[in-house]
Symmetry: C2
Subunit: 475 residues, 2 copies
C-alpha cells in the first residue's frame, strides 16, 4: 500500500520523531540549527549530516521512554553529555537520535560520612567540585576539560587527567551507576560501599564503554577529603626531552608520587613561547613540571628537586601560590598555543614510564619522515603522551593518518596502549584489534551484543567493522 | 556397541583422565589422598565426593592443554590456588577436574621505575611482598589470609582486607592479566600503564569473577612504594558498639583516612578475652582500633584520638611498635578465638558507614530471635562487617541459615551488599538475585556464557540455578 517512491527509512525516521514528540513533549528538538552542533565534538570529526532529533532528557523516566521508542523503531541512540570528547564518541549522524543527559544536572545527595555523592550525569565536573568543596570534599577525576565536561561523560570515557598517578583514573572514583539499557529497562550496577564482590563487576565494565552498553542516568561517586597542607611546585628545564623523561623516571623509581608531573617537548615550548611572548627555548629544550601535595609535601619537594637537578635539570622550587600558578600556566596554555598552528589531531598513547624517552624519540623521527609537526606534551607520572598533529583545513591529510598510525604501532610495540584517556570513539577503531587481538575483540563484541542485541547504542563507535559500520558518521 | 551396564559418565571420566595423563605427564594426580583436600576450602563446605583428577600446572602451556582437553570432553574445570576461600568458590566435586595454578609461583619481573611486577598466579601474597620489600615496593592487597593465599586467588575474588579504605581493593592494584579461556585460547586484558581506555574493561571484569570466566595465568600488578614515616595506633574501648561505630564515622566525616580502622563487638571481645586470658569486657563493650601511617601520621593520630575521646571512648595512643602490635593482636586473635566456639559460618556484608550501628544492632536482635551467637568484627573504615555464626557439627543448622539470610536482607535494605570481600562462591548464590535484580543477573549470566559457552568453568558457583546447578558439590 506504500507508494513505491516513498523511502522506508524516511518513513521510519518521521515515525520515530513523531512518537518522541508525542511522548516527551517539550524535550525533543528537531530544528536544523539545534541539530547541527551534534554532528561534531572536539575531535575535529564531523558526521555526514544532522541527526533526526535531540531528546533533552530531564529524568530517568525520559531516558527510559526515549530508549523504548528508539528500540521499537530500530533507530540508533547516541548518548551525549557536553560534547567535549576528543575521539568522536559523541558524534551523531543521519538516521540517529541524540539522547542528551546534559540537562540532568542535579546533585541528589552529598554524604560526608559515607564520602559519596549521588549525582545526575549531566553536571559539569567543575560545577560538582565547587559544590563538594563546601563539604570539604572532592571528586578526583581531573581531565583538562573539567570546566566544560560532564561527570557522565567522564565516566563514559573513564577520563584521566593530570592527577591519575596519585589519585587514580575515573574508575577508582565511581561506586555505582544506574544505567538504562537499550530497551528502556533500568539496572543498578556496583556497590555504594568501598568493597563489594557480588558477581561480575558490571560497574567497571560500564565505565569507559563510550555509550555502547547503556545510558548512565545516575552516578554514585566516591569522594576524597580535600587535600590539605602545603603545595610545592618544581619547574625544571632540560637540554633534551629524553633527559627530562629520565628525570621523571628517577622521581618514580625513588618512591615519590607527585600529584602532577607534566613534560613538554621542544615543539610544545616553541608554541607556548610564541603564544605567551616568552623565549622558553633559551631556557631549554624540554620542561618538566612537578607538583607535590599533602602532609609530606615539603620533604617530597626537596627530594624531587634534588633528583631533578642530579638528572641535569635547571630547577626551581616554589611554595608560593602565584609563582606555582605561573609555572602551571605554561602547561595549561600548551593546547591553545598548539591550536594556533591549525586544525589538530590530538593523540593519546600511554607507555610504561621507562619507555617515555623512546616514544618521544620516535615522534621526532616521524616528524622528519612525514614532514609534519608533532608537538608532544606528556603526563609523565603515568606515561601518557599527547602527540598532536597540526594541519590546515578540516580533512586529516593522509600523511598525518600514516604518522598517527606509526605512533600507535610504536606505542603498542613498547608495551603501551592506543589511548590513555580519550577513548576509541571513531578515531582509533581501525587500530583497536591490533591492541586487543582478535580473540579479545571478539569477546568484547559479544559482550556489546549482550547489552545491546539490536546494535542501537552508539553504533559504529569503538568497534571496527561493526554490523552498522557507522562510516556514514564520518565526513 | 557399548555394553548396557557401562555408565557413559564414567567412560568420559576415564577418557579425560587418560588424555590428561598422556598429555601432561607428571602433572596429573589421581590418588584418593591427594584429591580429598580439594573437596574443601575454608568455607566449611564439603563437596559430594572427590574430583576426577588434579592438574598441577607448571606453565601457561599446561593450563592451555588442560583446558583444551577438558573442553573437548565436556568436563568441568575448577581453578584452584591455595584453597583458602571462605565462600566455597574453589571446591571441586565428582566429574570435575581441578586445575591448580599453585605451583606457578614465579616472580617474572619487578620494575621499580614502572612500579609494577609480573608474577605467576600461584605465588603467596606474603611471599610476593617479602620479595618486593627488597625493592622498597609493596602490593597493597592485604587480606587476613595473606600468609596462605595466592595472588591469583586474591585477584579471582577481588580480595579486600584491613587497608582498603586507604589503599583500595585488589582491583585497584592490578594492571593487566593473561587469561586462558575455557577452550585453551590465551588472551591478555588490561594495560601495563596506569591509564588505558581501549574498549571494554575486561581486566576489571575478570577480577572477582571467581573462576567462572577464565583461568588467570599471569598477573601484572600495580605496586606502591613502601609507606615510610611513623605509624601510630589508637585503641579505644567504648560502652557500646553503636557508640564505637559512631566514633569511626566521626573520623571519616572529619576527613581523616586511617590505614586501619577495626571494630569488635562485645561477643568478639568476650571470645578474645577468654582466648588470651584477659578481662576485656571490664574495659568496655566494644573496641575500636585505628592505625594511621604516612607523612602526616602524628597529626592525624592526635586528631583521631581527640575525636574518639569526644565520642565517648577510653582511648590510648601509641607510636611504640611493640605496644601497637599488642593492640593489633587483639584483632588478629579474633578469628582463632571465635573458632574455639565451634564450626563457623563467616558472613561478610558491607554497608554504608553511617549504617554500621544499625547493622550491629540488627545482628544483636537476631541473636535473641534465633538463639544463636554471632560475634561480629568490622572493617570500620569501609563498613565491612563479619557476623560470624558458631555452631556444633559440620552441617549448618537451619536456624543459622535463616539468621544469615536475615543478615543479608538487612544489609541490602541498608543500601549495602551481600559480600564485601569473600565473594559468592557456593555460600551466597541463593541471595545473589536479591541484590542484583533479575535484569542484571540475566546480563551477568549471558556474559558468563560469552566467555564459557559450554558452562565448564567452575559450574554451580556464583550463579544461582545454573544449567549445572552444582548442588552435587554441597555436602
Amino acid at each position: 500500500m506504500t507508494p513505491r517512491t516513498q523511502d522506508p527509512a524516511a518513513t521510519e525516521a518521521s515515525t520515530v520523531v513523531s512518537a518522541l514528540l508525542a511522548t516527551l513533549p517539550g524535550r525533543v528538538r528537531t530544528a536544523a540549527a539545534v541539530l547541527e552542533p551534534y554532528r561534531r565534538d572536539r575531535s575535529g570529526r564531523v558526521s555526514g549530516g544532522p541527526p533526526l532529533a535531540v531528546v533533552e532528557a530531564l529524568s530517568v523516566a525520559d531516558v527510559q521512554e526515549a530508549c523504548r521508542i528508539a528500540s521499537a523503531h530500530g533507530v540508533p541512540i547516541v548518548t551525549r553529555g557536553a560534547g567535549t570528547g576528543l575521539a568522536g564518541g559523541g558524534i551523531a549522524g543521519p538516521d540517529e537520535i541524540v539522547l542528551s543527559t546534559r540537562a540532568m544536572d542535579r546533585v541528589l545527595r552529598v554524604s560526608p560520612q559515607n564520602r559519596l555523592a549521588v549525582v545526575e550525569p549531566g553536571i559539569l565536573n567543575a560545577e560538582l567540585n565547587d559544590r563538594l568543596a563546601e563539604h570539604g570534599l572532592w571528586w578526583a577525576p581531573d581531565p583538562a576539560s573539567r570546566e566544560i565536561s560532564t561527570v557522565g561523560g567522564n565516566i563514559a570515557t573513564n577520563a584521566g587527567g593530570l592527577l591519575c598517578a596519585k589519585y587514580g583514573v575515573t574508575r577508582e572514583s565511581v561506586l555505582s551507576l544506574k544505567v538504562v539499557l537499550a530497551d528502556g529497562r533500568l539496572i543498578q550496577v556496583g556497590h555504594d560501599t568501598v568493597k563489594g564482590v557480588t558477581g561480575l563487576d558490571l560497574c567497571a565494565l560500564m565505565i569507559g564503554s563510550e555509550g555502547t552498553l547503556g545510558v548512565i542516568v545516575e552516578c554514585t561517586l566516591r569522594l576524597r577529603p580535600l587535600v590539605s597542607g602545603p603545595i610545592a611546585t618544581i619547574g625544571a628545564f632540560f637540554p633534551s626531552v629524553e633527559r627530562a623523561a629520565a628525570a621523571a623516571g628517577d622521581v618514580v623509581a625513588a618512591g615519590w608520587t607527585p600529584a602532577v608531573m607534566e613534560l613538554m617537548d621542544r615543539r610544545t615550548l616553541e608554541c607556548v613561547g610564541r603564544y605567551t611572548g616568552q623565549d622558553l627555548l633559551a631556557r631549554g629544550d624540554a620542561l618538566l613540571l612537578v607538583q607535590v601535595d599533602g602532609a609530606g609535601a615539603l620533604t617530597e619537594a626537596d627530594a624531587v628537586h634534588d633528583l631533578v637537578v642530579a638528572a641535569g635539570g635547571a630547577a626551581e622550587l616554589t611554595t608560593d601560590a602565584a609563582e606555582s600558578s605561573r609555572w602551571m600556566d605554561l602547561r595549561r596554555q600548551a593546547f591553545p598555543a598548539i591550536e594556533s598552528l591549525g586544525t589538530l589531531l590530538v593523540e593519546d598513547v600511554a607507555v610504561p614510564l621507562d619507555r617515555m624517552s623512546d616514544m618521544f624519540a620516535h615522534v621526532r623521527r616521524l616528524e622528519g619522515r612525514y614532514g609534519v609537526i608533532i608537538p608532544t606534551a606528556c603526563h609523565a607520572g603515568d606515561g601518557n603522551l599527547h602527540p598532536t598533529f597540526a594541519f590546515q583545513g578540516e580533512e586529516v591529510p593522509a600523511e598525518v593518518w600514516q604518522a598517527a598510525g606509526e605512533v600507535f604501532e610504536h606505542a603498542l610495540a613498547l608495551g603501551g596502549t592506543l589511548s590513555g584517556e580519550h577513548g576509541i570513539g571513531l578515531l582509533k577503531r581501525r587500530w583497536l584489534g591490533d591492541e586487543l587481538g582478535e580473540d579479545q575483540l571478539d569477546l568484547q563484541r559479544q559482550i556489546k551484543a549482550v547489552f545491546d542485541p539490536a546494535g542501537l547504542l552508539n553504533p559504529g563507535k569503538v568497534f571496527p567493522d561493526d554490523d552498522r559500520s557507522g562510516e556514514h558518521a564520518l565526513s
